[in-house]
């Protein structure tokens, strides 16, 4: 019984020392205060690039249904503050052709330059790829020398 009492006393004293140690630490720390919060940093949404193709000039002035033209010297505008690459064409608009709009002309890009890195702002003299007039383009689009094709291009940040 005496041996058990000593062991119990040792356990109790050990516990007390642990408690007092922790308490002393708390007493030391309690003069310090903590302030925490969370805030956010949002990354940019990539703005669409635009390419304006004037089909009146160069080799692109004689479109007819199904014709494919390689696009050279196209100016691509990157509205972002950073470099991007083109992923895909999201929309095409045709202007300057009177009744001939995109629904009637059906322009598409069977080939698209997805490797060039575009700087912020205007990027001149770009080989953009191939532009094709639909095989079933409306005859109203025939003999339209003043068509302007504007392509909206989805981009991705270039590393």
């Amino acid at each position: 019984m005496r041996k058990l009492t000593k062991r119990s006393a040792a356990v109790v004293v050990g516990s007390v020392l642990a408690i007092t140690g922790g308490t002393a630490a708390f007493a030391y720390v309690q003069g310090w205060f903590r302030g925490t919060s969370t805030t956010y940093a949002a990354t940019s949404t990539i703005g669409d690039l635009t390419a304006v193709i004037d089909v009146r000039t160069g080799s692109a002035n004689n479109f007819y249904p199904g014709k494919i033209v390689e696009l050279h010297n196209v100016t691509v505008n990157n509205p972002n503050d950073y470099k991007v690459k083109i992923l895909e064409v999201t929309s095409v608009a045709v202007t300057g052709g009177g009744d001939c709009d995109q629904t009637k002309a059906g322009f598409s890009f069977p080939e698209l330059n997805t490797t060039t890195v575009f700087n912020s702002g205007a990027n001149p003299a770009i080989d953009l790829g191939d532009l094709k007039m639909s095989t079933d383009a409306d005859p109203v689009c025939a003999a339209k020398g003043g068509l302007t094709v504007t392509a909206t291009l989805k981009g991705d940040i270039a590393p």
């Binding site: 109790v12 002393a24 205060f33 903590r34 969370t38 805030t39 503050d81 940040i157």
Partner: protein
């Protein structure tokens, strides 16, 4: 049994003495104000308020400054000793919360800074966040969560 009772009594006395001593403030008035006006976190620690202004428009290579406001809920001057930020999360799985996505620098101003009792102060320095040039493109249009932590004490302590 007598030894047992003695040990328990001594232990209880010691524990009581230390707990009372630990709970007593070195400055009774300051401690009272702290307990009355300070908030407490989930661990029961008294805390003050740090507010970080959100930033936007980050892209690879870009740097933004997070402005910090500290609110002192105590009735004594608070001396802000340290202030740090760290990236803790994103809302896009493909854009991990790592240093390759965003680097969060330490507070750029001089410390310590004293905030008046019950005062609110926008700090002269900022915390810079920089998106590395080689950050993954998957991080576009992403919300990055930054944790801010400040440590302070009673001014003049």
């Amino acid at each position: 049994m007598k030894a047992w009772r003695t040990a328990v009594t001594v232990a209880a006395t010691l524990a009581t003495a230390f707990i009372v001593a630990g709970g007593q403030p070195s400055d009774a008035d300051g401690q009272t104000m702290m307990l009355t006006h300070g908030g407490r976190d989930s661990h029961g620690n008294v805390r003050f308020t740090v507010i970080g202004q959100p930033v936007s428009g980050l892209y690879p290579g870009a740097t933004r400054e997070i402005k910090i406001t500290v609110v002192n809920p105590f009735g004594f001057p608070l001396s802000l000793r340290t202030l740090d930020g760290s990236l803790v999360g994103t809302n896009r799985r493909a854009c991990p919360a790592t240093r390759s996505t965003l680097r969060v620098a330490g507070y750029s101003g001089l410390l310590p800074i004293t905030i008046k009792p019950y005062g609110r102060s926008t700090l002269p320095g900022t915390i810079l966040v920089t998106m590395p040039r080689d950050a993954t493109p998957h991080c576009s249009n992403t919300k990055l969560q930054i944790s801010l932590t400040g440590i302070g004490g009673k001014a003049g302590r």
